[in-house]
């Protein structure tokens, strides 16, 4: 007890030891624990559903694409649901609905089948499931926002003009399929939707719970049998399904949710672990230096009869107190960081609601601190017993060689790890810059976008849809300052997509994967001009095209090169067999436009096919308005133009096109920012480490330095001598670090774009940075050494 009091007192009296130690522990613990909280939350924490490990996702997988797979049609959902492997299942479709009363407000909704909620096995926070078609279920956030948490069950809302009753409120952490879902409404389909003729209408997502005794493997085996049977089900689809290697794919729900995040998160976790190791090395070095400086004290205690543990007690107790203080600070930082991530990270990380600081995370932090505390015993005890092992140790300058070697090794390890981290940061940075420099194939600057979804009542009525979408285009074109306006069903770099296979007239169907495929979009006239896509050959849709014109298609260069290499595609005819299932209706290609990158700036452009939306309108379109006016002044006149046509029509997702471009870069940008921040902290800790070591060396070797001065070394020589010492450590660390980084580069390769993990310029820059930092960190101790009094050599210790 006395020992602890002495330790605290000693610590308070030595701020130059306590503060760097506490700061180092706080910083490195916070970084690793927050990263753990995110990684654990997203990758390891059980989902908040009953026996979540028994939940599986189902996909229609077409062998030509290497993604997980696509949505399913209602008949698909029906026959999968009958599978013996599942005890229950549910399907859903992300949608939206307009909330009436005041300014029309669009809510993000999910339309869900009756089996949806029961499959999760989560009880509502309030209310009960209802089979009533007019019942809706609120998310926790929506309930809080609209009802302030007051009783809402039985209250009504007007959605899409229909009065709905609130049947239940979900708990806070139920966020499926996404955290942005504000409300669930029943998905009610007419019995005809389940006809085999609708096998091609794939718009439902599906989830099922494994039956007792079933496993993912056994369920997949059953699905394989079903797949083989279904190929023959509809004669007209048979060839298509065989060509595309269609089959049903199952995936565990959790794996499925985090599939894309796993690798980047594990990389960040590894980076954070390196920062922690650097911090730990720094802490050990500090404790060792302190123990060496105070070893007389433990010697005296030893002489007074204390055992080695008691003799060193003050040293490791004060280290433990500092670690505890640093740990507490680190945990406070962790809470702040995690709160910020949960607040802002949803678009990047998805299900952020599972990230929090709770028992497993706290346990992890305590384990880290305990490890650090145990490690500090080494230097504290070692230094205290050093003189006991070697009673002559203090006599000559060379006697603390073992200690000096240990400390140098710690610093070399720090420099090596910082080099590796910095290299990773540099590579990711170069990769991000190359990515951002890629031409999307269109000009996003000065383009404002917004989405209009036609009212439910118009769906399927082409004439009314054309009148609506065409009318909006005309009104906006007439606004002052607008140079071009058009609309598309799918905006590039948005998360939407539509891909399908098509046939080319007169071309025999290649077996297997040879079927042509392309992203298809319906666009209003003038689309290339509005988005800034160049027209390469022929023409794009324009004022000549009307609902009654012949059926045309416009393709892009990627499609032209892939499917008509060395030929002129204009005048050739294609058809989307699945879209035009009943009779074959050919479309004539009238133009070729420039390729665009749809999914991300990093991907190779893939074939696109454009149809005229006036001939077959979709129920929602995204407008692109090119104007020199600032977006803010445009928004009001756009709203006015839309409301002049239909005052109840909400104008959704008003966003500059640039926002889609930067959103597509958000994930690599975030990763790069985090990694760079880690690298900078690592660099800072390393600089502190180098400084600490050299300051210690200069103190420890001041007699030797004075002797060197006595035999003729001047200030400059002593300065150089100490700087060289720092540079030598840095060089050793950089060499080890570059080798380690090259070895670890394979892991990084998968997240890099257009830059190899062996990029020499990046490593050169990192090496120079570290050497420069080493010189800066060595400068103060070197100056102190040069200012030593050479007469010290005469003094007897």
């Amino acid at each position: 007890m006395n020992d602890l009091r002495w330790a605290i007192r000693a610590l308070l009296r030595a701020p130059s030891y306590a503060l760097p130690l506490i700061a180092t522990v706080a910083l490195s613990t916070a970084i690793l624990t927050s990263t753990f909280a995110v990684t654990y939350g997203l990758l390891l924490r059980p989902l908040p559903y009953a026996h979540a490990e028994r939940l599986v996702r189902l996909y229609n997988h077409y062998g030509m694409s290497n993604d997980r797979g696509g949505s399913m049609s209602p008949p698909d959902v029906a026959d999968r649901a009958a599978s013996r492997s599942f005890i229950s299942s549910g399907a859903w479709q992300k949608s939206s609905a307009v909330l009436g009363g005041g300014e029309p407000l669009r809510l993000t909704t999910a339309r869900v089948t009756r089996g949806f909620f029961p499959t999760f096995g989560v009880a509502p926070l309030a209310g009960r499931w209802s089979n009533d078609d007019d019942a809706v279920v609120l998310s926790y956030a929506t309930w809080q926002r609209r009802f302030g948490g007051a009783d809402a069950i039985g209250k009504t809302l007007v959605l899409d003009g229909r009065r709905r009753t609130i049947a239940a409120v979900m708990p806070r952490d139920f966020a499926f399929p996404d955290a942005d879902v504000e409300l669930w409404e029943p998905l009610v389909l007419p019995p005809s939707a389940y006809d085999d003729s609708n096998r091609g209408s794939e718009y439902l997502e599906m989830l099922a719970r494994l039956a007792p005794g079933a496993t993912l493997q056994s369920a997949q085996a059953e699905a394989d049998v079903l797949s083989r049977r279904l190929v023959d089900r509809v004669a007209s689809r048979r060839q298509f399904l065989l060509d595309t290697h269609w089959h049903i794919v199952l995936a565990g729900l959790h794996d499925d949710l985090v599939a894309d995040l796993r690798r980047p998160l594990l990389l960040l976790f590894a980076a954070a672990a390196l920062v922690f190791i650097i911090g730990a090395a720094n802490s050990l070095a500090l404790v060792l230096a302190r123990a060496i400086a105070r070893r007389r004290e433990s010697d005296v205690r030893g002489a007074l009869g204390a055992g080695p543990l008691r003799a060193a007690a003050t040293r490791f107790l004060e280290a433990w107190v500092a670690i505890a203080a640093g740990g507490a600070l680190g945990l406070a930082l962790t809470y702040a960081v995690v709160a910020a991530i949960v607040r802002n990270g949803a678009t990047l990380l998805g299900h952020v609601e599972v990230i929090r600081v709770d028992a497993p995370v706290l346990l992890f932090a305590f384990a880290l601190l305990a490890l650090l505390g145990a490690a500090c015993l080494g230097p504290a005890l070692g230094a205290a017993t050093l003189t006991r092992w070697r009673p002559q140790a203090v006599k000559t300058a060379g006697d603390t060689l073992a200690v000096r070697f240990f400390r140098s090794a710690l610093v070399v390890v720090e420099i090596a790890l910082a080099t590796a981290l910095l290299s990773a940061g540099a590579l990711v940075l170069v990769s991000l810059r190359r990515l951002a420099a890629n031409d999307p194939g269109f000009n996003p600057h000065g383009v404002l976008t917004f989405r209009i979804a036609a009212p439910e009542s118009m769906r399927g009525d082409n004439a009314r849809l054309v009148a609506l979408f065409g009318g909006i285009q005309q009104r906006i074109a007439a606004l002052p300052g607008v140079t071009a306006v058009s609309a598309t069903t799918v905006l590039p770099l948005s998360s939407d997509d539509n891909t399908a296979t098509f046939h080319i007239e007169g071309r025999p169907e290649a077996p297997g994967d040879g079927m042509p495929s392309g992203k298809y979009r319906r666009v209003l006239p003038g689309f290339p001009a509005a988005l800034g896509i160049k027209v390469v050959r022929g023409r794009a849709f324009d004022a000549r095209d009307t609902p009654s014109s012949p059926r045309y298609a416009v393709i892009d260069e990627a499609a032209a090169q892939r499917y008509w290499p060395g030929q002129d595609p204009i005048g050739k005819r294609i058809t989307y067999s699945e879209l035009d299932a009943q009779e074959i209706r050919w479309r004539t290609i009238i133009g070729v436009v420039g390729s665009i990158r749809h999914g991300s700036l990093g991907e190779r452009p893939v074939p696109h096919v454009y149809f005229d939306a006036l001939q077959a309108a979709d129920s929602s379109m995204t407008y692109v308005v090119r104007s020199a006016l600032p977006a803010s002044s445009l928004v009001a006149s756009i709203r006015a133009a839309v409301h002049a046509i239909d005052p109840s029509l909400p104008v959704d997702r008003i966003l500059p096109m640039d926002a889609y471009v930067s959103a597509s870069l958000a994930q690599p940008r975030f990763g790069t920012a985090v990694l760079s921040a880690f690298a900078l902290v690592a660099l800072f800790l390393t600089a502190v480490g180098i400084y600490g070591l050299l300051a210690y060396l200069v103190t420890e070797r001041r007699r030797e330095l004075a002797v060197r001065m006595a035999v003729g070394a001047d200030e400059r020589m002593v300065l150089r001598f100490v700087l060289r010492e720092g540079l030598r450590l840095a060089l050793a660390g950089v060499v080890v670090g570059v080798i380690a980084a090259l070895a670890a580069g394979r892991a990084l390769g998968s997240v890099l774009y257009a830059v190899t993990a062996t990029n020499p310029a990046a490593y050169a820059a990192v090496a120079l940075t570290l050497l420069a930092v080493a010189i800066v960190a060595s400068w103060v101790p070197a100056r102190r050494a040069a200012a030593l009094d050479p007469a010290l050599a005469l003094r007897v210790e």
Partner: protein
Amino acid sequence: MTEPLIHLKGLTKIFHSGDVETHALSGVHLAIERGEYVSIAGPSGCGKSTLLSILGLLDAPTSGEYDLGAQPVARLTSFERARIRNRQVGFIFQSFNLVGDLTVFENVELPLSYRGMAPAERRAKVHAALERVGMSHRVKHYPAQLSGGQQQRVAVARAIVGEPSIVLADEPTGNLDSKNGEAVMNLMRELNREGATICMVTHDPRYAKHADRTIHMFDGAVVEDLPLPFAEQAIRESGFELR
């Protein structure tokens, strides 16, 4: 009469530590001729080491004049002092002060490398110096592998390797047993016979008698300056406790 090698006139040294002023030297007058062997005696704290550090240009006096080989050196920059130390002064310390990381050879070579001498020339001089002190069989050893007496002989080699004008020794036998101490003293005597100018601080009257002349200090001043054999007697009569 030729100019003495070392000439001190009214030398004072005051140390300031906090509010405390220590007058370590107060008005020292002293002349040392070339080839002389001088020993400095006096009680602990009387300023012997301070005097030696000024003689060896490790430190500058607070006031007074110091001519070394007719050159005034009392007020030089630290760079000039380092240069003169390197070329004209050889130090021998009580605690040997060999650099633990360096071999015997490298320790002796140190002053020559600071001088910027070519490696071949350095090698010859280092070997000659080690030969002179009888340590040429230990060139590759580290100080920790040597006995105290051997270490001090290496230190002597380091002091003479650059052929300095003066060798300064501060209690060179203080950390040695009497047998090794005697050996180092004999070595100094021989060096002096071969022409080296030596100024040595010692407590031990047995060793003081090796010198031609003993300077006795008290409270920062030279109180008696006697050639042997009077010195021995004077020390005994002074009644100061000798340690």
